[in-house]
Amino acid sequence: MLRIENLSVAVNGKQILRNINMHIAPGEVHVLFGPNGTGKSTLLGAIMGFDRYEILEGKIYFKGQDITEAPCHERARMGIGMMIQRPPTIRGLTLRQMIGICGASPEEVEKMANWMGLSDFLDRSVNEGFSGGELKRSELLQLMAQKPDLLLLDEPESGVDVENIALVGRAANYILHNDNTPCGGVNCDKGCCTFNCSANPLAAPQKSGLIITHLGHILKYVPASHAHILYQGTITCPGGDPLDILGCIGQSGYETCVNKGCRRIRK
């Protein structure tokens, strides 16, 4: 699905990432751990193709095609979808219109918004006055409509309260499984992780994902297969077990984990 080769990226002329290599196969969900300011968002932004990320070296392939030079909207149309950490407000453009832009039919818009608990927000300007949790839900709602094959999530839990984390996790899982029918809604008590009550919540995703997370709460809802630590601009511990790595970071911190523990927990 996604192959990154020897990628180096600069922002405002300053090099942030060096020699990144990564391969995400179809159906794999990878997690990216790392301290603040180490370049995690830069990596996601470079994959999405945002202008401010300057590729110094290396290649990005998506579905076998070299997209290193492709503009952002072409990547979106090819099937890359990104949850933006601090999305801007666009005044006068309603959330309803935005979900339509993402590809949902008017009926789907209603259904999906209801499921995300955002029905009352549909006719408000997109993101205007939204709380932290509402912003995340708005982003996931847009991605549900966009139906990407590669889902990029930039800190889906930040600013979200405990109750909403479950919703955010289920929504992300829904997108990864490409289920079609929403079930009972936000408060569905059948314990399912996805829209579709009959689906096995922990079945392997059909699509791929790359998730940035600090605390790992999202991993309770989204079954990730591989983890990487991005430390000082480059990847260490590539492809480790997500929960093992998370445990190691929690116990001894990034530095120790990267310097000493990596070999032990590497698969």
Partner: protein
């Protein structure tokens, strides 16, 4: 007012805008056009462009003035409104002249009002009697067909207590006209609990100078919704209409949408004076510079306790040429007046474009979407066809085309 005083005012410059030497124009009353049939096809197309329905099917009444000649007005059968040439109305209703003529706008305001007051009167007189609610909009088209024409218009609109009216005024000039001047004086009187929705669309030729002078007086519980749209390459438009809220609980809302392409100079404002308790007003302007010049003034005057008013002057620069000058002004004469303003002028934030691109729109589509959102001010009373036309015009904008 004495003739001498008016004569003296002929040399009085306007408060804003470039001073115009009126002697360079042809101030005649020749009927270049005597019926709709005399209007060129291109001219008719322009009339439609400014919201005028030639078959007038969805209109309660229709008024057309070409140069300084008013064509015979048409009023749909059994529509309880009066529509006639202002000059004729003055002859018919001398008692109304006493009460309404030049009572909202002083005739010696400047040279443009003075010349209009001194000469034979044109323009429309509309009266809706107390309690009558007119369903379909009334349309008025003010058109210039003759080169170097000086056009004088004096409109009087009276919406009596409890009545309701929606007026669409489209102003344009024949494509064959290069240079001309339009002087349009409008006086609106809105009675107790009456409502007037007034939409004016300007689409003048490039070298037509435009000097409207309008004023509105609103009584208790009355509502005035004014929409102004100007999106063409008009070289010199200047107006600053005054609205006075003189009855308790009167409400005024003024929306304007101004787009200035290269070569346009638009100096557009609005003054709302809140003179009794409980009045509310909102001025919302959305301006877009695509290479031209915009001066956007807005003034709220709070004279009474417990009034509320808000002013928004928001501009979008879509070009490296031209400018937008947003000048919001709040004047408070009492401690208990709630008045606020918001003014912002800038470019489209690159993050907003990228956000939409990440959802699959290309740069051009993203820009157009943001601009449409920017102009989405929820204009009440705007005909659908016109709303669509505005959207279509905006869709043709883009960075890449250099606008």
């Amino acid at each position: 007012m004495s003739k001498e005083k008016l004569q003296a005012a002929l040399s009085k410059q306007g408060a804003f805008g470039k001073d115009i030497d009126l002697s360079q124009y042809d101030n005649n009353d020749i009927a270049h056009v005597q019926s709709e049939a005399d209007i060129s096809e291109a001219g008719k197309a322009l009339m439609e462009h400014v919201g005028i329905e030639l078959n007038a099917e969805n209109r309660s009444a229709s008024f057309i003035q070409v140069d300084n000649t008013a064509l015979e007005p048409k009023v749909k059968a059994q529509t309880p409104l009066e529509l006639m040439n202002t000059g004729k109305a003055a002859e018919k209703y001398p008692e109304l002249v006493e009460k309404y003529w030049w009572k909202a706008v002083a005739p010696d305001t400047d040279k443009y009002t003075a010349v209009t007051a001194l000469e034979k009167e044109n323009g429309y007189f509309i009266r809706v009697k107390a309690g009558e609610k007119i369903t379909y909009p009334l349309q008025a088209c003010i058109f210039i067909s003759h080169e170097e024409q000086l056009q004088r218009v004096h409109n009087i609109v009276i919406v009596e207590d409890g009545a309701e009216l929606n007026v669409i005024t489209g102003c344009s000039s024949d494509p064959s006209v290069d240079k001309a001047i339009h002087l349009g004086i409008s006086e609106f009187y809105i009675g107790k609990n009456a409502k007037l929705t007034y939409t004016m669309i300007h689409s003048w030729g490039e070298n037509v100078a435009v000097r409207p002078r309008s004023a509105t007086i609103i009584d208790a519980g009355g509502q005035f919704i004014s929409n102004y749209v100007c999106m063409e390459k008009a070289k010199d438009v200047q107006m600053n209409p005054v609205t006075r809220l003189v009855g308790e609980g009167a409400v005024a809302r003024m929306n304007s949408i101004l787009v200035a392409p290269k070569g346009a100079h638009l100096d557009i404002g609005g003054i709302v004076s809140l003179e009794v308790p409980g009045c509310r007003a909102e001025i919302v302007a959305r301006t877009i510079c695509t290479g031209g010049e915009i001066v956007n003034r807005g003034t709220l005057i709070g004279k009474a306790e417990g009034i509320r008013a808000h002013l928004e002057c928001n501009g979008l620069m879509l070009s490296d040429e031209g400018y937008i000058s947003a000048i919001p002004q709040l004047d408070a004469y009492t401690g208990n007046a709630e008045m606020s303003h918001e003014a912002a002028v800038g470019r489209i934030a690159p993050e907003e474009i990228e956000y939409l691109m990440a959802r699959g729109l290309d740069e051009e589509e993203a820009t157009a979407t943001i601009v449409r959102g920017f102009l989405n001010v929820n204009i009440e009373g705007l005909p659908d066809t016109l709303a669509k036309k505005i959207t279509d015009t905006l869709d043709t904008f883009s960075y890449n085309k250099g606008m």
